[in-house]
């Protein structure tokens, strides 16, 4: 009992320190403390919950997680001197983007916003700054509307300790052709990271956002608890692409959630390679009529990686539509698990939902589990799902070898081809190459 009290006291101190360092407004500090309170009273998942059957919660109960180093970071004291290679590649191409926000560890280092875009009131800022500059928006949406601490122990933990993040607001009626890029890079100096991205797409706006996470080769294990919340207003249209290259992170918990209003659409693209143990929760709440969502993603596990995906397509109102395609491959001793739920509420008549999970098993010791779920309480609907598991086609491999390709290269070509339709959705070659390089690196392991 005493140790628990001690820990709760320590956590509270840490939260206060983070809040002070970031010079947070009162409402935000209150929100942190509330999240901490919920964290303290929420029990850990037991492993019996359907969502937690495949990944041991133990990985996330790390002793280290509560105290981010940056709690003791003083502004201006640690000046970041080196721009990491992956990020500098993006910055060199800044003109391709409507805006770029680069953050390394807990330090907001670079921000670029195109002149025209700034003129058209596009807002891109690091989250602590945005909380001070635009309280009217951030207060309304931040961990209040899409992600809430009540959703789970790890969401509550994040709500208390987050210390780095991005805020994007796409103004009403504006369309941005060039994509927005949010890049996080972690050096391993910090062992607990809580990046948070909040996107508010105002009615009838349109944009594409890329979010990348990269890491240096880290020696110490790093725990990453990252969350993205998207609020799409009436008629808004948003493409959100997440490239997860944090391959040296030890444990990664990702919560990607989106709430869709009337006639809006959100298209998620996931490129997931990250973490030794990774648990991803992706949720689409189609809250109002006419909303549509499309999710397309790839994952590739190698070595002893454990990748676990939990997706929810929640149809709450009629005439909503959602599609999901997740293509995965596992090699080495890696293991993947997919649980995808399509839920159709009794109110959601005339909906159309689809879900497909393909798994490619590339080695004898790899394992892939799939659990696609339909929960349907309306009748005037169309709903289908499918899941497959198989290995590379021998005849394709044989053909390529007869053309003189070594086996390894032939394999790589076929795997790249398997992923290509989804990788091609990325807007430029630098990003595509970053993904293909990662695929090549993993297949060579």
């Amino acid at each position: 009992m005493e140790t628990i009290l001690k820990q709760e006291e320590l956590f509270k101190q840490t939260v206060m320190e983070i809040s002070e360092q970031l010079a947070e407004p009162q409402w935000l500090r209150k929100r942190r403390l509330r999240a901490l309170k919920i964290f303290n009273r929420t029990p850990w998942p037991t492993g019996k919950e359907e969502e937690w059957r495949k990944t041991k919660i133990l990985h996330f109960q790390n002793e280290r997680y509560p105290v981010p180093e940056s709690a003791f970071w003083k502004p201006g004291k640690n000046v970041f001197t080196r721009i990491p290679a992956p990020v500098s590649a993006f910055l060199e191409e800044a003109a391709r983007y409507a805006g770029i926000l680069v953050q390394t560890d807990a330090l907001p280092v670079q921000k670029y916003l195109g002149e025209e875009e700034a003129h058209r009131h596009l807002v891109i800022d690091d989250l602590p700054t945005a909380a001070r500059k635009y309280p009217e928006w951030v207060e309304a949406y931040f961990m209040n509307r899409v992600i809430t601490p009540e959703q789970g122990k790890l969401e509550a933990l994040h709500g208390a300790f987050w210390n780095i993040g991005a805020f994007v607001r796409i103004p009403e009626g504006s369309a941005f052709e060039k994509p927005i890029h949010i890049a996080y890079h972690f050096t391993g100096k910090e062992q607990s990271l809580y990046p948070h991205t909040l996107v508010v797409a105002e009615p009838n706006s349109r944009a594409t956002i890329i979010e990348t996470v990269t890491t240096d080769e880290m020696e110490a294990p790093v725990f990453l608890n990252r969350q993205i919340e998207i609020f799409a207003g009436e008629g808004a249209c948003l493409d959100y692409m997440v490239i997860q290259l944090e391959h040296s992170a030890e444990t990664v918990y990702s919560a990607f959630r989106s709430t869709l209003k009337k006639d809006s659409s959100v298209n998620w693209r996931l490129f997931s390679f990250c973490g030794k143990t990774s648990k991803t929760h992706l949720e689409i709440d189609l809250e109002e009529e006419g909303a549509t969502a499309d999710v397309q993603g790839i994952f590739l596990g190698g070595d002893h990686q454990h990748l676990d995906f939990n997706t929810i397509q929640k149809h709450l109102k009629s005439r909503t539509r959602s599609t999901l395609l997740l293509k995965g491959a596992v090699t080495g001793h890696s293991k993947s698990a997919f649980r995808g739920v399509i839920h159709i509420d009794p109110n959601a008549q005339k909906t159309d939902a689809y879900q497909l999970n393909n798994n490619l098993l590339l080695s004898k010791n790899a394992q892939a589990d799939a659990n696609p779920v339909l929960e349907i309480e309306a009748n005037d609907i169309r709903c289908t799902h499918g899941a497959t598991a198989g290995q590379l086609d021998d005849s394709q491999l044989f053909y390529l070898q007869t053309r003189g390709l070594p086996l390894k290269l032939a394999k790589r070509l076929i795997v790249e081809g398997y992923f290509k339709t989804i990788v091609d959705l990325l807007p430029n070659d630098t990003l595509k190459n970053a993904v293909y390089d990662e695929i090549g690196r993993k297949l060579n392991d």
Binding site: L361, S363, N371, V373, L374, I376, H385, A387, G390
Partner: protein, 468 residues
Amino acid sequence: MAANEVPKIGLDKYKYDFKNPENYYFRVQKGLSREVVQTISEMKNEPDWMRQIRLRALEIYNKKPIPKWGGNLDDIDFDDIYYYIKPAEKMGKSWDDIPRDIRETFDKLGIPEAEQKYLSGVGAQYESEAVYHSLRENLKKQGVIFLDMDSGLKQYPDLVREYFGTVVPTGDNKFSAMNTAVWSGGSFVYIPEGVHVDIPLQAYFRINARNMGQFERSLIIAEPGSYLHYIEGCTAPIYSEDSLHSGVIEIIVKKGARIRYTTIQNWAPNVYNLVTQRAVVYEDAVMEWVDGNIGSKLTMKYPAVFLKGRGARGEILSMSYAGKGQHQDAGAKAVHLAPDTSSNIISKSISSNGGRASYRGLVKVSKNADRVKSNTRCDALILDDISRSDTYPYMEVDNATARISHEATVSKIGDEQLFYLQSRGLTENEAMALIVRGFVESIVKELPMEYAVELNRLIELQMDGSIG
């Protein structure tokens, strides 16, 4: 179809709702206890090893929690159930030997008639005990054994001891433990090497008493190269109190043998039907489950194949209809433990009048099972806006050479289809029944003729008046 029409289809349509007075020869007190288990074992004059198995099972049962997944089991009052009722002093050799009301029950169910026409053997169970068992002479001569389980234990104790509990271990789940503690009746079937039983055997299970728990235990052993089609039917009268049926069926299909097990479950809508049925399938053998779930309040039943020998094959066809107040949580389980094994699962479910139909399935491929093939296909029809359909398939693949696929669709009856049929002069109700019949046709055609007719009729009954 009017959106919120109160469904007219009623439980009164259930044609098996006739009851006899509860005349029994012996009955234990309500509830499950060590005493009850001891009494059952004493009544049966069992060998000591079986009594020990029962008592150990009771301990396991008491330790296991009630499953939280699947259907809602919270409303069962396990203390308000009779775990053993012996209806008559002894089993009849002919239908004339058994008490009149019981005989009349089976007459109404058409069993003696079917026995003459389509079956090579019949077992009839009433409450906890078999009241009648027969097998054609020519099969007896070939060494086929078809007995109720209690007689099987008496006459072939070594065979029973060798196989009992090897396919479904006592502690497999809470209800297999319960069954092992209080089992009574069920079938014991042994098919010698190379014998083909061309005409099906049938067992019929009837509950008559209120608050009854029926726990039949069946064991089927198919020696190499043999063949059997076994059919199981079940009904009960309707009471306002709940009854419980919790059977365990263990099947061993040896090298090159083939067994088809067909169930047409039509329990009354106050019966909880929690059954564990599983087959171990050896080299080049084939197991086929044909599972029709029409009745019961809640069914939780997932026929399983454990494919243990190279080239073994499992087929599971599952059909369920969830009407008013019903939850059919049915499905299939295929566990691939050897190379070159294959499985095929087809599920068709229909939900109407507020019913809920769920498919729950597992396809598992173990590490050393190379070149496994498995296909699952689940189709669901929802007939109105107050019903529900779920699909919960699990795939666990631990071998890279496996080819596994799963596909599912959920839909309503197409307006164009209905419109077309109505334009040809069918009423809306007739059109719907026709479409539903077409929907389940691929499974119905696997049934013996007389059952196919019966199933189609049952579906029509279930649907009758469902359109406002």
